[in-house]
C-alpha cells in the first residue's frame, strides 16, 4: 500500500483527535489565539451587517485571523475532497442504515446524505427545516452559549473551565433529544 493510498483511507479517531487537540497549543503559540470557530460567524455579522447593534459594534478587523482560519478550513475541505478522497462509500452502523432506509435515505456516496441536502430540496418543507432551520439554530445557539464544539468542548475543557463543561453537556443533551425524538418527524416530512 502506497503512502497516498494509506492517507486516503478514513482516519481513525486516535489520529484525528490528537491532531485536533494540537490546534489548541498551535494557535496559542503562533499568536495568543484561543481556538474557536463560531466567533467567525459573529465577525461576519460585525463586518457585513452591524446595524448599530452593540454586540456587533467592535473592530472585527482585529479578529481577522479567525476568518483566515475558517477560510483555511474551506480550502482543507477542497484539498481533502480533490486529492485525498476515499473512493469507498462511507461505512455506517447497520442500525442507522436500517433507520435511514425508512426515510428513503440510502445514498452513502458522500459524507452527507445528498438525498436530504441538495439545492432542489430547499423548496421542500423538509429541506427548508433541515438546511435553513438547522443552520439558524447552530448560529443562534452557539453565540447564545458563547462558543461551539471547538471553543467550549475543546478549548474550554482543555483550560478546565467548568462553564464550558456545562455548555458541552447541553450540546450533547440537545443533540440526543433532537436526533432521537424530533429528527424522526422532520425526516418523515
Amino acid at each position: 500500500m502506497t503512502l497516498i493510498e494509506w492517507i486516503k483511507q478514513p482516519w481513525p479517531w486516535y489520529i484525528a483527535g490528537p491532531l485536533i487537540g494540537l490546534t489548541v497549543p498551535t494557535l496559542l503559540i503562533l499568536g495568543n489565539k484561543s481556538f474557536g470557530i463560531s466567533s467567525s460567524l459573529r465577525h461576519v455579522c460585525a463586518a457585513c451587517v452591524p446595524a448599530k447593534i452593540p454586540f456587533f459594534s467592535y473592530d472585527w478587523k482585529k479578529e481577522v485571523w479567525n476568518l483566515f482560519f475558517v477560510v483555511g478550513i474551506f480550502f482543507g475541505g477542497i484539498i481533502a475532497a480533490q486529492w485525498l478522497a476515499d473512493p469507498e462509500p462511507i461505512r455506517v452502523h447497520q442500525a442507522l442504515v436500517s433507520e435511514l432506509a425508512g426515510y428513503g435515505i440510502n445514498d452513502y456516496t458522500s459524507l452527507i446524505p445528498l438525498q436530504v441536502f441538495n439545492w432542489p430540496a430547499l423548496l421542500t418543507v423538509k429541506g427548508l427545516v433541515m438546511m435553513v432551520g438547522g443552520g439558524f439554530l447552530v448560529g443562534f445557539g452557539t453565540r447564545y452559549a458563547g462558543g461551539c464544539t471547538s471553543g467550549h468542548a475543546i478549548m474550554g475543557l482543555s483550560t478546565l473551565q467548568w462553564p464550558s463543561l456545562v455548555a458541552t453537556c447541553c450540546f450533547m443533551a440537545g443533540g440526543f433529544i433532537m436526533a432521537n425524538l424530533i429528527l424522526p418527524f422532520i425526516l418523515s416530512l
Partner: protein, 171 residues
Amino acid sequence: MTQSVPALKETNTDFEVRSLDAMCVNKSDRDDKKWYKNIKYMIVGMLFGIVFVKAEIISWFRIQEMFRLQSFHMYGVIGSAVVVGMISVWLIKKFKIKTIHGETIEFHPKTFNKGQIYGGLIFGFGWAITGACPGPLYAQIGTGATVVVITLLSAIAGTWVYGYFRDKLPQ
C-alpha cells in the same frame, strides 16, 4: 510588554465587547499590522480542515451515530482532542512557554451564564439536524456540498438575530 500597554488601553472598550462572549478575547497586536501575517492561521485551518474531512467528522452520518450511541468514533475524536489540549495547556503554563513573538500566553476564564444552558441546547438541536457544528460547515462547502452555503448563511443570520435580541434573552 511595556509597548503593549497603550495598545491595550486603546482597545479596551472593544475588548470588553468581545469578552462578553466571543472566544477569541486574547489577541496579539503584532499580527494586526499586516494582513499577510494571518496566512499562518489559514494554513493551520487548512490542515485542520483536512483532518475534519479525512476523519469524517464533517459527516452527517457520523453525527447521527454519535447521538444514537452507535459508534465510539466521535467520542474518541473529541475525547482525545480534549486530553491532548489539556496536556498542551498544562505544559504551556508549567514551562511558561511564550508565543513565537515572545509574548506571554494568556488564558481568560469564562464566566457562567444561563446562555450556556439555553444556547447549548439550541446549538445541540441544530447540530443533530445539520450534522455540523460551525467548523464542519466550512469544510463541507469545500468538499463540494455547495448547498451548505445556505446553512452557513442561515447560521450567520442566527448569530445576527441573537445579537439583535441579546438584551431581551435570559443571561
